[in-house]
């Protein structure tokens, strides 16, 4: 690791750690109790060797056996350990609970934050990395809390307690033993330095290997069809070899700096204690019990060190993860907010676009000066090729993006003035790709809206003619829907999404018609449903179906973000423009589309 990288890592910790610790604040009481238990338990632990010392020096060595005090000693010894063990268990569980609850809060916060981010953010952030931040990165933080609270806190308290015990027994020897401290710190620093580099390399290789494997499995038909098996095997073998080398590196590091090294320090400290007693004994009398107790202390002093060192790398990983999570929590690309006081309502559903221009990236305008009016109950059909701005017109009405230039009004009130709830209740969106959630048919129509009862659901399904196919499913409305609705046909999925929209009884319908052709039977159901849905509702439709277009009160032809032709069916015919051409062509067509 370069010193620079090392430096930035330290900076990260300085910034991230306090913020992480802040999450512990609501658990102050529980933490205090847990710490108290930890201290008491450790105290009991530390007293054990002292009792042994008293026993050896005052009773065993002088052969002074008195039943009363001996029984008292034995009972207190066992009692102390029983208490210590119970406290240890309770305290371990408590720390874990606290850690898990802290991470739960962090997770809920970050997920909640993401719910209110604007579409701009989602457009610019790959979904995969976003998912990983909400789940995997918080999981890494969980690991940190759990390990920090159980390994580090325990280890440090245990080590401190051991030293207190040593000082109680013999101040001078305790001071001698302190000499091993710098050694331990040095070992940790050295290990940390190397391990962060070596582990980073190993992690990188693992993710490279997984990526390669995943990609190969996905594209195996291409690899086989193009006869590249041998080359891919070589490439995989190379990454596999690199991973092997990285793993060898971590084995080497661990054998050089972990247990064998810690054992050496242990032996060194034993030697210090022996020397001290040896030299003192040559000069005068020593208490064997003290020596016994010291050796006993040293025996358990080093296991926490071993564990803390193993956890160091995890700690570093968690810091990096935490920084990413906090980055997301600080994200500023929020969804458009309601502006101003008051709670205007949507009663008629009149829509007006006035000189609306829009740009996603701030550079190129995808909408230029769009103006049109849709009177209550009217249908406006948007036609034009991909990229002409049809979707943007819809996206703005849905308030997925803020209107930056010009105004959009509903019933004369600017779009910004409405509550989110009012908009969502009154504008029903039907997407081209009907997204289904894991659950059953009912829950997919209702979504999370508890005010929609079963009757309404069935009504909505009947209205869009989805009822027929739902009734044929083995469990009807309770039929489980697998991932993304894979068990249903695309036409059925569309009908379901229609029902979902109809269940909220919207005043305004926003339609993004699917282009993909579906089987004739469902196609007819879809056409009928669309017609029924539009009735009495102001509809803005990205239209692909000629029936929708022909029935529209107003047709807007878009090209490069501008309206190049507009009017009703008759007006456009009279214009002898595009619509007329379609009409002429239709004469030779056996009534496929326009005459329907």
């Amino acid at each position: 690791m370069t010193t620079e990288a090392f430096h930035t890592e330290k900076l990260t910790q300085k910034r991230v750690l306090p913020r992480l610790l802040k999450y512990a604040k609501p658990h102050k009481k529980a933490l205090i109790v847990a710490f108290l238990m930890l201290f008491l338990g450790t105290g009991a632990d530390i007293l054990g060797p002292i009792i042994m010392k008293i026993y050896i020096d005052e009773y065993l060595a002088p052969r002074h056996f008195v039943t009363g005090p001996l029984v008292a000693l034995a009972v207190s010894f066992l009692l102390l350990y029983a208490i210590s063990v119970v406290l240890k268990y309770l305290q371990l569980v408590m720390f874990q609970k606290i850690a898990l609850n802290i991470v739960q809060q962090l997770r809920v916060d970050v997920f909640g934050k993401v719910q209110h981010l604007g579409m701009t953010f989602f457009d610019q952030t790959p979904g995969g990395s976003l998912v990983s931040r909400i789940t995997n990165d918080t999981e890494a933080i969980k690991d940190m809390y759990v390990t920090v609270l159980s390994t580090f806190v325990q280890g440090i308290v245990m080590m401190a307690g051991t030293f207190i015990g040593m000082f109680i027994l013999d101040v001078r020897l305790g001071a001698f033993c302190l000499a091993i401290f710098p050694l331990i710190i040095l070992l940790m620093v050295v290990y940390r330095r190397y391990s962060s580099r070596i582990y980073r390399r190993a992690r990188k290789k693992i993710s490279e290997l997984n990526a390669k494997l995943n990609e190969s499995l996905q594209g195996m038909n291409i690899i086989q069809a193009m006869r590249q098996e041998k080359r891919m095997k070589t490439e995989f073998g190379r990454i596999n070899q690199e991973l092997y080398m990285a793993e060898r590196g971590s084995i080497k590091l661990n054998s050089l700096l972990l247990r064998p090294a810690v054992y050496s320090v242990y032996l060194l400290s034993v030697i210090i204690v022996l020397c001290f007693f040896g030299v003192t004994s040559i000069a005068g009398v020593v208490q064997i019990g003290v020596l016994y107790a010291f050796l006993n202390y040293l025996d358990r002093f080093f296991e926490p060190i071993n564990q803390m060192m193993v956890q160091l790398t995890r700690f570093q990983q968690a810091m990096i993860a935490a920084e990413r999570v906090f980055g997301l929590l600080d994200e500023e690309r929020m969804e458009p907010k309601k502006v101003g006081e008051g709670h205007p309502r949507i009663t008629e559903g009149a829509i007006e676009y006035k000189n609306v221009s829009f740009s996603y990236d701030g550079k190129t305008d995808v909408l230029k000066n769009i103006s049109f009016t849709a009177r209550p109950g009217e249908t406006v059909a948007l036609v034009g090729h991909t990229g002409s701005g049809k979707s943007t017109i819809i996206n703005l009405l849905m308030r997925f993006y803020p209107v930056t230039k010009g105004t959009i009004t509903i019933d004369g009130t600017p779009l910004e003035a409405f509550d989110n709830e009012t908009l969502r209740k009154n504008i029903g969106l039907v997407l081209q790709d009907p997204f289904l959630f894991v659950g059953d048919i009912k829950s997919n129509i209702r979504l999370g809206n508890t005010s929609i009862d079963d009757e309404t659901i069935i009504e909505a399904a009947e209205f869009v003619q989805a009822d027929a196919f739902i009734r044929q499913l083995p469990n009807q409305y309770e039929e489980a829907i697998g991932e993304r609705g894979a068990t249903l046909s695309s036409g059925q999925r569309q009908l379901l999404s229609f029902a979902r929209t109809m269940a909220i009884h919207p005043k305004i319908l926003v339609l993004d018609e699917a282009t993909a052709s579906v089987d004739t039977e469902t196609e007819e159901a879809i056409q009928n449903a669309l017609q029924k849905m539009r009735k009495g509702r102001t509809t803005i439709a990205i239209a692909h179906r000629l029936s929708t277009i022909r029935d529209a009160d107003q047709i807007l032809v878009l090209h490069h973000g501008e309206i190049v032709e507009r009017g009703t069916h008759e007006e456009l015919l009279a214009l002898r423009g595009l619509y007329h051409k379609m009409y002429v062509l239709q004469q030779g067509d056996n009534g496929v589309a326009l005459t329907k």
Binding site: I134, K142, M398, L429, L431, D519, I549
Partner: protein
């Protein structure tokens, strides 16, 4: 323990590592027994005032020497044993990958990629643990345990040894039991976490619907519920996990207590010294690890066993499509003829193709159209032998394709699949996928033919632009055109375009088809498409419905026929006119 037998081939293969590793491990165990013994002697010397300066220096020097050798042996056995274990996982990964490249598409239809990934990662990791930690715990629990018992019983006091070790079996039982309970609960916790992950995944993918229906709060509530479930399941894990430490401490303490109480009796009787009692308690401390190891061993082996079984089962998979015994090593050429009565996918009852008979002379183009699910893709895939036809034959140059070597057959065919899959590499590498040695000129030439060259040079790094998550996001149409360029680069005798132009606009489609016709004069092409315009210039057009040919002929013939083709053709003409509304002016 059968796992070790199953893995014996590997231990044999890595004989040297394992034998040396085990020897060094045993040496380490032995060395670690020396310090407590020395300490006992020094303690007695101190007590009896026999300790002199020189004696002390001698003993200390001895301990330092032991420490240095121990460091060396400790390093060595880890290198040998863990080194061999990671070599095993390297080997297994390569074996699995090799297998994956040989298995037929049907295998990939049946198995989820996530599961296969899990075998290649988690299962191999578990086997690696068994070959490393498993061996360590096995050897350590046996040899170290035996040595400690030997030291305690023979060097110090056999009766005290029996008394002190009485509580130990309980520790083995407890840790092993905790281990399997932990494993179970851990699985539940993992499952809860994976549910949480799925929820987030769904939420992010469905963000538009969620926003449009104002479902943010409902989503948050659902997330909070799932996340609370994760907490619950993890607390269940913690409750077991937290048992280990206190249990071990407690049992060890009882052992200590017993040895102190009974040891004192021996000391009082004079059959033991205080120094020996000190050594004894230190040995007792060392006996903890072999006992723990014994408990761990069962869990490691249990997990490794299940994983190794899964890997073995996977490795036993046989490719369904392979070379026939008498397959000839000749590159197929000539007319293609399909004569299929029925073709049914494995594990399906309904035939996907029925009565497919047609002849495609060399150099001609066939277009296949029909509704989704009518069998277009299947018709093309069986030519590639992704699946073998049981009831009928496909022949090239008069010889059934099963009589050619698979490798030669694939060499002949340039395949552009429906799901235009690109690798995360540069654009140039993707185009040159089938011929990595292709020159930049060759790559650019096919890119121009596929009408993607202009797009590519518009990217920041041109042909060196990375594709995939860490690179540019390509549109569906761009991906399709790169796939076409990729297939063109091998100048295939037969080209298969499986709905490969669906995401490009009509003009580009027209241009690509024209350049294909121009450069592939005498070569054969098979095109499946949703858009009639993609096949209207084909020499033969087949209309499929439910796996049967319902209309066949040239464009003109089919238009005159007035069937599905004509209807669809006209509807699409109209719709494309609407699509391009602006341009029509």
């Amino acid at each position: 323990m059968r796992l070790f037998l199953n893995l014996f081939w590997y231990f044999k293969k890595e004989k040297r590592s394992y034998i040396l590793g085990i020897l060094f491990l045993m040496a380490s165990s032995f060395l670690s027994l020396i310090p407590p013994y020395v300490i006992g002697i020094i303690v007695d010397d101190i007590r009896t005032h026999h300790l002199t300066g020189i004696l002390l220096v001698k003993w200390i020097g001895f301990l330092i020497a032991v420490g240095i050798i121990y460091y060396g042996t400790g390093y060595a056995w880890r290198q040998f044993i863990f080194g061999a274990a990671v070599r095993l996982s390297r080997l297994l990964r390569n074996q699995l990958y090799d297998l994956f490249t040989r298995l037929s598409p049907n295998f990939y239809h049946k198995r989820r990629i996530g599961d296969l990934m899990a075998h290649a990662t988690n299962d191999i990791r578990a086997v690696e643990d068994a070959a490393g930690d498993g061996i360590l715990t096995l050897i350590d629990s046996i040899t170290m345990g035996a040595m400690v018992i030997f030291a305690m019983a023979v060097l110090i006091n056999p009766i005290l040894t029996v008394i002190a070790l009485l509580p130990m079996p309980f520790m083995v039982w407890a840790t092993s039991r905790y281990g399997s309970m932990l494993h179970e609960r851990f699985h539940l916790a993992q499952a809860a976490f994976s549910d949480l992950n799925d929820k987030v995944q769904e939420n992010i993918s469905g963000v538009r619907v969620i926003k449009a229906f104002g479902q943010e709060e409902a989503e948050k509530a659902a997330f909070r519920r799932l996340s609370a479930d994760v907490v619950q399941k993890n607390i269940a894990v913690a409750k077991i996990d937290a048992l280990f430490d206190p249990t071990i401490t407690f049992i060890v303490m009882i052992s200590y207590f017993l040895s102190l109480v009974f040891g004192s009796m021996f000391v009082v009787k004079g059959s033991m010294t205080i120094g020996e009692l000190t050594s004894f308690t230190l040995y007792l401390g060392q006996f903890v690890w072999p006992m723990l190891a014994f408990g761990f061993l069962f869990n490691i082996v249990e997990r490794g066993h299940a994983s190794y079984d899964r890997i073995q089962k996977l490795l036993a998979e046989k490719p369904e499509i392979c070379d026939h015994d008498k397959a000839i090593d000749v590159k197929p050429a000539g007319d293609i003829s399909y004569a299929i009565s029925t073709f049914t996918y494995p594990e399906s009852q309904q035939p996907a193709l029925c009565d497919i008979h047609f002849n495609l002379p060399k150099g001609k183009t066939v277009g296949v159209v029909g509704k989704t699910g009518s069998g277009k893709t299947t018709l093309l895939k069986i030519l590639l032998r992704e699946f073998d036809v049981q009831d009928g034959t496909i022949a090239i140059g008069g010889r059934p394709i099963t009589e050619y070597k698979l490798d030669r057959l694939r060499e002949t065919i340039g395949y552009v699949p429906q799901d235009h899959f690109l690798f995360s590499a540069t654009i140039a590498e993707n185009i040159a996928f089938a011929r990595p040695e292709a020159t930049q000129e060759e790559i650019e030439e096919v890119a121009k033919l596929a009408r993607i060259h202009d797009d590519i040079i518009g990217f920041p790094d041109g042909y060196q632009t990375m594709v995939g998550e860490r690179g540019v996001t390509l549109s569906g149409g761009q991906k399709q055109r790169i796939s076409i360029a990729r297939a063109l680069l091998i100048e295939p005798e037969i080209m298969i375009l499986d709905d490969s132009l669906s995401a490009v606009d009509a003009d580009t489609e027209e241009a690509i088809l024209r350049s294909l016709k121009a450069t592939r004069g005498d070569k054969t092409t098979l095109i499946a498409a949703h858009r009639m315009s993609a096949v209207q210039h084909a020499d033969l057009i087949l209309v499929l419905d439910n796996g049967r040919i319902v209309e066949r002929g040239t464009h003109d013939e089919l238009m005159r026929l007035g069937g599905w083709y004509q209807t669809m053709y006209q509807r699409q003409q109209l719709e494309s006119l609407v699509e391009q509304g602006g341009k029509a002016e």
